[in-house]
């Protein structure tokens, strides 16, 4: 090894040193050089002797005081300005029953998805995470509050508490990490933007070179389409998913997944039609997701490209009660609905990114029992779509300013041109984002 490498480097040394010194290799200069080399030898020897006990960490970082064990705190400050050509006060997407919590978009200036996050290791076995969302209307919502095992080993990860479900691709991402101001239509209609659950999540990572992750969740059914059943000892909702991922060469990487979710809905508000209605029955959702990222040589700081898409299909079947306040008639109702989006984001130079997203939903055609068929439409001759353009600028990795334009055709006869301006800033300890 030694000889070989000396053999390799010696000509290099000679080649480099020769032209530099040959022109003026006076005796004094040579003597100076020799002295310098001797001094260097001494320094190296000193380094060597100092290094004999250098396998002991040189750390002398002060870590004392009452707040030394305080958890990591991160604060996301975010706000939007929205200007729309249509009113969104009583937002409905044609053919879909949105979550009763969905109040559509507010115009003008709004406090966006500002959130406070606190996390720390609890002990060698557990880590705790809590995220509180500052709600635009005032108040503080508990977005996440879970403990997570850190020492199960063998690729197992268990979460307990309130968490965003791991299904799909976007569901687990917090609002400040979204590439657009808002979620895709399919997330808004199927998951009330983001499926949050109170329950247990078990994930297992296979010991393979290819990334293979399997996940299972049971919970109360807190988030839409679940109806937050507190009357039932069993699980209100379950989810299963598998994620696969790898690199293709040094510049490409991808992740793809399949997800299944099922819940039993009890007295769910179903206001897709004009009156107040209730639906009780089974809801089963299957989803496919993929994301592909490209960065030249894997260096995403200068330019990078991301393409992602997800597809969800939901079958609901049970009993629908039409007009609970009036005629109050109940009969069978079942429908299969679906939706997808495809989006890409291109960082064309450091700090600047542009994005394009297309959304589409299919409200399906329902089987409607005879008793309610006169009032409940079986299908809609309308396909909700939306096209969104985004441009954002990040002065640093902790700040982002965004402009977004959308043409929203999710409501029949109410084509809407939407303009958003947004800031997303991150203060304090801010961990990395998932892929």
């Amino acid at each position: 090894m030694f000889k070989n490498s000396a053999f390799l480097v010696a000509p290099l040394f000679i080649a480099l040193a020769a032209p530099l010194y040959a022109h003026a290799a006076s005796d004094t200069e040579m003597r100076e050089l020799r002295e310098q080399i001797q001094q260097l030898e001494k320094r190296v020897l000193k380094t060597e002797s100092a290094a004999t006990d250098s396998s002991v960490a040189k750390t002398s970082r002060a870590a004392s005081g009452d707040n030394a064990f305080n958890p990591a705190i991160s604060l996301i400050l975010s706000g939007t300005y929205g200007s729309y050509s249509q009113n969104h006060e009583d937002a409905k997407i044609t053919g879909f029953a949105l979550s009763p919590n969905d109040h559509g978009y507010s115009r003008s200036f709004n406090l966006g998805e500002s959130e406070l996050g606190i996390s720390a290791n609890i002990d060698p076995q557990f880590r705790g995470v809590a995220t509180f969302a500052l709600e635009a209307g005032g108040g503080l919502g508990v977005e996440n509050a879970y403990v997570q095992t850190s020492a199960l080993g063998n690729g197992f990860n268990l979460k307990m508490g309130r968490f965003f479900s791991g299904l799909g691709y976007l569901n687990e991402q917090h609002a400040h990490a979204w590439d657009f101001v808002d979620q895709p239509l399919v997330y808004r209609t199927f998951w009330d933007k983001q499926l949050g659950e109170d329950g247990l999540q078990l994930k297992w990572l296979a010991p393979t070179d290819t990334y293979v992750e399997l996940g299972a969740e049971i919970g109360r059914g807190r988030g839409h389409p679940g109806t937050d059943r507190k009357d039932n000892n069993g699980a209100g909702a379950t989810a299963l998913y598998a994620h696969l991922g790898d690199d293709l060469g040094v510049s490409h990487s991808w992740r793809a997944g399949v997800s299944l979710h099922q819940t039993r809905r009890v007295n769910a508000e179903a206001d897709a039609f004009d009156a107040k209605n209730k639906f009780s029955g089974d809801s089963r959702t299957a989803g496919l997701d993929f994301v592909w990222k490209y960065a030249p040589n894997g260096n995403s700081t200068v330019t990078n490209f991301k393409l992602q898409g997800e597809y969800f299909q939901r079958k609901e079947s049970g009993l629908l009660t039409y007009d609970t306040a009036g005629v109050n008639t109940t009969d069978g109702y079942s429908v299969t609905q679906s939706g997808w989006y495809l989006q890409s984001v291109y960082q064309f130079m450091p700090r600047w990114r542009a994005g394009l997203r297309y959304d589409q939903l299919d409200s399906g055609s329902a089987e409607v029992g005879a008793a309610i068929a006169a009032n409940v439409p079986a299908s809609y001759n309308f396909i909700p779509t939306r096209t969104t353009l985004m441009l954002d600028y990040s002065p640093s990795e902790f700040s982002r300013l965004r402009l977004q334009l959308a043409q929203d055709k999710s409501r029949e006869g109410l084509a809407d041109n939407m303009l958003f301006m947004q800031y997303v800033m991150s203060l304090g300890a801010h961990g990395g984002h998932r892929f």
Partner: protein, 301 residues
């Protein structure tokens, strides 16, 4: 030549994830530590380099492939000092491998074994992307490889005691070769001493401390901030008044700012490999520093 080819092949094969009949599974965060681990463990380890020299080690995607590799790693070799804070914690969490968790024997941080430079007196993001533990680019002072090698070799032996004698011999050989190389590099780099240079990012305090270059300006107004045109114009004026010899950037950095300033000031731009694999010449640790010094010397002309 043959040696570096062999090392390159080993790195390449382990990067592909092919079995290299190895005892110890090492996950190296940066290519310089992959190369050092290779020097110290030879064929007794299977080494995966999580990043290459053309990637900014501050900003790496927590890719599924990295999580899968970390899942099976027995030893994580990283710089530490918060260099990987943007991606490694996610990977460790998702990999669910307690052997390499922070504080465990399977988690090795090189920065713990060297004297840190530029430890900030004031921690404030208003100062840009500063690291509380000091500047993390410790590998650009080649002298730092000696204490890191001692500690890493000890750690490898601890995790694979059956081959301790083999590792001790590898360490001995490495130290001898490295010391010879340090002498050679110091002599070679003598003309660089005291030369004023401009840097694109604050990556080089260890290089300056080692070779004696004198940094007179940075192209980033604050670490991690892309320079504005106004800031660069101010720099041009400053450099016209007090000229420097060259403007230095690393292979993974955006070329435009240093080219812009070079065009307006007539400075040479020098693109350093930064780590093993940063250019065709820097194939191993030795050629990394050979090439770095060669390029800096060329910048003086």
């Amino acid at each position: 030549m043959r040696n570096s080819l062999i090392i390159f092949n080993i790195l390449f094969i382990s990067a592909l994830g092919l079995p290299a009949h190895a005892a110890l599974n090492i996950f190296a965060c940066e290519p310089e530590w992959a190369a050092l681990a290779q020097e110290l463990a030879g064929d007794k380890a299977s080494i995966y380099a999580a990043t290459n020299a053309l990637q900014d080690p501050h900003h790496v995607e927590a890719r599924p492939s990295l999580i899968a590799k970390a899942r099976r790693a027995q030893l994580l070799v990283c710089t530490g000092a918060e260099l990987e804070t943007g991606w490694l914690p996610v990977i460790l969490r998702e990999a669910a491998n307690p052997d390499i968790a922070e504080g465990k024997r399977g988690n090795f941080e090189a920065a713990l074994y060297v004297t840190m430079l530029e430890v900030p007196a004031r921690l404030d993001r208003g100062e840009g992307d500063v690291h509380a533990a000091g500047n993390p680019h410790i590998h650009l002072d080649a002298r730092n490889f000696l204490p890191v090698a001692d500690a890493l070799s000890a750690r490898i032996s601890e995790l694979d005691p059956a081959n301790a004698a083999f590792y001790a011999q590898r360490l001995h050989d490495f130290r001898q070769k490295w010391q010879a190389a340090l002498l050679r590099w110091s002599a070679l780099a003598t003309p660089l001493k005291g030369q004023p240079v401009v840097v694109q990012h604050r990556s080089y305090p260890y290089l300056h401390a080692w070779l004696g270059l004198q940094q007179v300006a940075e192209l980033e107004p604050k670490p991690g901030m892309e320079p504005s045109a106004a800031y660069l114009s101010g720099l041009v004026a400053q450099l016209k008044a007090r000229p420097a010899r060259m403007v230095i950037r690393s292979a993974y950095q955006y070329a435009r700012p240093s080219q812009w300033i070079a065009q307006r000031t007539g400075l040479h731009t020098v693109e350093l490999p930064f780590s093993v694999g940063g250019n065709a010449q820097a194939g191993d640790l030795y050629s990394l520093f050979d090439d770095t010094i060669t390029r800096l010397l060329a910048g003086l002309k």
